[in-house]
Symmetry: C2
DNA sequence: AAGCAGTTTAGAACAATTCTAAATTGTGCG
DNA sequence: CGCACAATTTAGAATTGTTCTAAACTGCTT
């Protein structure tokens, strides 16, 4: 399986591990995408941005596959979706408890560590429902 | 100016006032939409849902106008946009400080009064930026 | 009643995302 | 190893929500 990932063959190995652990067959495109996503520290991508990035780096993956993969990774718990912009969907490689700054002008996300913000007084969920998650988005603008 | 709004002519008058106060010319469709939006207590609508509702009640308004109007109302401070679902945009007639439950299964929003939830520890905005708003979304699911 | 800027509208255009059916690729097995 | 089959990828069409456009219409002022 391959000739790519020359920049860092170890990333590929790690990615394969991650995929296998998640029960996802380690295909060329999944490995490349995972390598990109999990190479750096916490990252925020959209399907389009990740696709561009990956294509630029010389890898051939279709946009449809990026969408599929992003969703599969999310289901597998490797990613988390962040809803801050009605226009596009963001995916976050930080799946732990944390919140976000959202720079509305640029469409950029910045993590806020999970122990920084405290949310108190969340009412109990309406009958028959349970709280799935509490999201805090700090929307910031040019001063 | 017309024959509709028979259910509640006063609503129409009120709506006209609101529109005039906001500097929006009180046209037939704006009046009808405002009457629907501000008739009940706090409401959450999408362009589509409001359009359907209004059309069903026998009023002729195009979807484009609903979109325009919703945006104009928002700019005028009569409505507020809520981003909880990547798929569609919601508008809230409650423009005051408050938060939301979001029932992911149904796509329904429920207001949480502004003094219920307390958010502490919001870090200062990155340099050159200022906090515009802090949104809290409590995502709930079938138990 | 006329004029005109502000509005509305149908329909085209768009952007993000999903779907589809066909081609390709991992993986296990003999 | 090489084959078979299911899982995956893909190009392109289709969907969905939203915005744009140019033409028709309407509320206001005179």
């Amino acid at each position: 399986m391959g000739k790519l990932m020359r920049e860092n063959p170890d990333m590929a190995a790690l990615a394969m591990e991650k995929l296998r652990a998640a029960g996802l067959r380690p295909t060329r495109q999944r490995i490349e995408l995972a390598a990109h996503l999990f190479a750096g520290p916490d990252r925020h991508v959209t399907a389009e941005s990740l696709h561009d990035e990956v294509v630029v780096s010389g890898i051939k993956v279709s946009l449809a596959t990026v969408y599929n993969t992003l969703h599969q990774f999310t289901e597998a718990g490797l990613l988390r979706q962040v809803v801050v912009d009605a226009a596009r969907g963001y995916f976050d490689t930080n799946t732990g408890n944390h919140q976000h700054f959202f720079l509305e002008d640029e469409g950029t996300l910045i993590d806020i560590p999970g122990d920084t913000i405290t949310v108190a007084g969340v009412p109990t969920a309406p009958p028959g429902l349970c709280v799935d998650r509490v999201d805090v988005v700090v929307r910031v603008k040019r001063a």
